[in-house]
Amino acid sequence: MQSNATLEYDYSIVKLFIWTAVIFGFVGMLIGVLIAAQLAFPDLNYLLGEYGTFSRLRPLHTNVVVYGFTLSGIWASFYYSGQRVLKVSINESGFLKALTKLHFLLYLVIAALMVLSLLMGITANKEYAQMEWPLDVIVVLTWVIFGIIMFGLIGLRREKTLYISMWYYIAFFLGVAMLYLFNNMEVPTKFFSGGLGAWYHSVSMYAGTNDALVQWWWGHNAVAFVFTVPIIAMIYYFLPKESGQAVYSYKLSLLSFWGLMFVYLWAGGHHLVWSTVPDWMQTMGSVFSVVLILPSWGSAINMLLTMKGEWNQLTENPLIKFMVLASTFYMLSTLEGPIQSVKSVNAIAHFTDWIPGHVHDGVLGWVAFMVFAALMHMAPRVFKREIYSKSLLEAQFWIQTIAVVLYFTSMWIAGITQGMMWRAVDEYGNLVYSFIDTVSVLHPYYAIRAFGGLLYLIGVLMFAWNIFKTATAGRRLEQEPRYRSPMA
């Protein structure tokens, strides 16, 4: 077996995905701030004519942050840590190296076409699966290439036992593949109508309630397999590496992994509580959502306990701050979700701003914080330079933490207020409020949320500047740092 020192890992693909993560992160969150502001100040809808309305931009925001920022961060982390935990370099296979380039190229093609088509309003209109069939075909192709690279590296590995992160990356690949294929089954209309109409248009294979079931089986599990599974893969690698601590418990990681795999898929039904899907399925969705607390908290607690005896690092190292807070937000978010799944709570929460509030304490606090920490941990090793500024990183941490708190508290209040107003009746049983009353009352909360978003975006800018300066002007490192990332 070769030692670490003699194996030259290939980071060219890692660098590319680091840059796309930074760029898509900024663009996606900029659009996010704009659409948040549009709800508070509707005149902002008219900046770009027909292309600038809230409704047209909202899927662009979600797609750019989910599939641009997050996936880039995941892939940068996978290509970095995958080589290292498997003890194999991409350079060892010309074929796999070429595929990584193709992977990145196709990814850019998809990103460009996605942005264009969503702006033009070409959409299958399923949430988080808006892309029309020609794009779906390229996505599937790209996914297959990613799979070949991953299993190719696994085939060439020197370390025979798969590290925990690899379990999650494998699940990420399989889960997304299965869900994406089934949810995007659609029939192109041009081929069945004697060549009529737009070539890119298609119609869903499923109708009505069935379509809703498949969509939320996907919609919920896109959260599972993009926002949870690979992010856990990242924290299982980067937290022990940055802190120099061993993972607290192997048994707990086993329980959490297999538990998460088994339970997560069932929980999709909680998006359809009180809808027209069968009652037993709604109940299953609620019950399994509550069960889901176990494996979720299992991973988070495993990570927090990994810091046992080394909590002083929390004050000394901003990257540890990011990762510990990420685990904490993961716990908050995975407790909040099950609460919202309970039928009586869902009756109030569903359709209100509490839902985007919940999503954002998860994505801003957990996903994005973990991505920032991972990218910053990789930067000194990939660029072989010291992190440009520790104080900038500290400032970013605090600004963004305040931003997340502003975001989810305002949306909690907004959601519960509106949910209660919709159902309020007077002593004769008549509805008290017209719909518009329940909208006008939200104005201050929308304004606070937009302000929180703006703060978060400022943090992203600080991060982008920091990583750019690290890559170009950081002090050169002679030796790869072993644990704590060096920062000026």
Binding site: P42, F54, L162, F192, A207, T276, V277
Partner: protein, 222 residues
């Protein structure tokens, strides 16, 4: 067993796949046979309505509007009869939405009129002063894509046996005939009910603006 799996990636992957696919098989498959039946008397969307549904999708109305009335008194008082599964039998894709920044639209055709929609889409504040919805003026000039909507009707008839009559058939000629005989008169009726001369004039010239198709679709939601 777990130690062995962690050294054998193939079987590990198979194991993961079985564990995650299991839920889908049990939850989703049985529903497919059971729930796809339309309620009695439900007609498939006309081509004009389908074109309107495309406008609804294009401008992504589901970002703020649901089409799902839940079985609570507060919702049935506000929006009407709660939604039934069979009412969605011809909805591909389903358009329930997940957020109500604006009100539910599943039965909007019961309590709004075409001219109300015309005013509202042109300038929401003119009918709801505190509205935060943007105006959709471009829908008054952009033309609806009727041919694609027709192609969709032909496709669902062929592939999913959606009960359309003989008038829905493949090919350009069939489309042109349908447009002249059925679609344009239907659009003209809507345009007149919207009480805007510019729209009536456009339809009379054989051009259907997006807003006319959209209102036809919204009127159908009952």
């Amino acid at each position: 067993m777990f130690h062995w799996l962690e050294k054998n990636p193939f079987f590990f992957a198979v194991g993961v796949f079985v564990v995650i696919a299991y839920a889908g098989i049990i939850e989703i498959l049985p529903n497919f046979a059971e729930r796809a039946r339309p309620v009695k008397g439900l007609k498939p969307y006309t081509v004009l309505e389908l074109a309107g549904k495309e406008v609804y999708k294009k401008d992504n109305c589901i970002a703020c509007h649901s089409q799902l009335i839940r079985p609570f008194k507060s919702e049935t008082d506000r929006y009407g009869q709660y939604s039934l599964s069979g009412e969605y039998a011809y909805d591909r894709p389903f358009l329930w939405g997940s957020k109500r920044t604006g009100p539910d639209l599943h039965r909007v055709g019961n309590y709004r009129t075409p001219d109300w929609h015309a005013n509202h889409m042109w300038d929401p504040k003119s009918v709801v002063p505190e509205s935060i919805m943007p105006a959709y003026k471009h829908q008054f000039t952009n033309l609806a894509d009727l041919e694609t909507a027709y192609a969709e009707a032909v496709t669902v008839k062929k592939v999913f046996n959606t009960p359309y009559g003989k008038e829905i058939a493949p090919g350009k000629a069939a489309f042109e005939k349908y447009k002249k005989d059925i679609l344009l008169p239907e659009a003209l009726k809507i345009a007149k009910a919207m009480k805007r001369d510019d729209l009536v004039k456009m339809v009379e010239q054989g051009k259907v603006p997006e807003i006319v198709a959209l209102v036809a679709y919204l009127e159908r939601l009952k």
